[in-house]
Amino acid sequence: MRWLSCYLTNGVHWSFYASFLKVLALLAVTAPVALGFGFVGAMAARSHVPPVSWLGKGYIAIVRGVPDIAFFMFFVIALDQAFEWTRHKILCPDWTDPIRQGNDFLVCQAAKLPLGSAPEWVHETYGFFLAVITFSIVFGAFAANVLFGGMRAVPHAQLETAEAYGMSRRQTFWKILVPQMWVYALPGLSNLWMVLIKATPLLFLLGVEDIVYWARELGGTKTSKFTQYPHGDWRMWYFLFLLIFYLGMTRVSEIGLEKLMRRLSHGQATAGGELLRKETTA
């Protein structure tokens, strides 16, 4: 027992526990940002200006169509190189060597992102930042599609009435359409949230050491030569713990989303809203 408590509090395990915070932080940052991407995407897709609408629809179609893993592998490297290329052009205009030499991607030292001399935590934060952007773009596309559907599901009579009252198109959108669409979008968005929770292990593809990486590393066989805490293949127990963690996360989210749904259904012309009306009058 004492052995186990010492084992569970050694340095590597603190990195393991810290990675849980990393995953939670990713969720906390990505969810609103992705929702923002989705909102803008949906607004663009239903725009009356054709190029904007094409842009919105193109974003939704392309990102939704590309497999997540391919997107994560390719996009992050491309994004990183795009940043460095831009900085290279601005910061080192005198550079004459080609940026691509065979397989190598070479920019001047000053254009490196983060700078080669930056401490390791800066590199890790930068990697985390790239992860947030990538997750947001991917999940933003799905969210855009859901919100687009939600906007169209708002009864048309509501919009016509708003127009009849003399509201401008902008007013109709912000005051009538947006507040009412959430109830239609929420089931789809809650699905996305669940998928996002489960997609966090993809972080490891992006070089961020997440809980799955540490579970694999810590659970692996340790021989007494290289550690004070030798043990056999314990990966099963570590992954069991992750299973419980993920199930707990999704369960808590389910409860939260149910409460939110109830709140949004108030006064809506939907089956859920009707049920609430009956409850309050009865």
Binding site: W14, N103, T221, K225, F226, Q228
Partner: protein, 237 residues
Amino acid sequence: MKNLILTTAALALTAGIAMADTVRMGTEGAYAPWNFINDAGEIDGFERELGDELCKRAELDCEWVKNDWDSIIPNLVSGNYDVIIAGMSITDERDEVIDFTQNYTPPDPSAFVAMSDDVDVAGGVIAAQTGTIQAGYVAESGATLVEFASPEETIAAVRNGEADAVLADKSFLAPIVDEDGELRFVAEDVPLGGGVGMGIRESDGELKEKFNAAIQSMKDDGSLNELITKWEVSSTF
């Protein structure tokens, strides 16, 4: 003229910065005794000690980075770190994509490990880590190859019967076989690869020369052999 002076000054300045720049060392951290994560969560092992010593001799400021084996070469060429020091054997295929310093361990045999002595390593199912020289060897030997992303998984495959045997560096297998009553070395050892070296971008000739010189100096004064013996990673020079 004025412009010329300015550019030379700028060049001198950037050269000065490049000199003092940190060299980022990429490793896998899952291949004891070569490189692994110790109880404190830090990178440790033969290559950690070797790398730190080489950096001291080459007067470089080094920083350690962990990276998955699968993507260790792509991340080097795209500039996320400057050196691969991860027990990587020097092979012609890899040499087409990146450059290697001179080897810091001599070519050493790989070994088969299995649960029983009567395994057919020429025709059975053999586990190896993806993208290693061992995987390449098994694929050509006529045995059925099963690949895994990490070294740990190749051992687990033998334990649970998914593979008949695993082929890997002998120094990696030895401590595992020592502590496991069921696993044992089988068949003949296979000589593979041209020794282990540091992987460096092809365009980074200057860095390669610095490390070559540092490795040579460690070979000359015998300190490299001491390190090899201490960590039991291979035979000595």
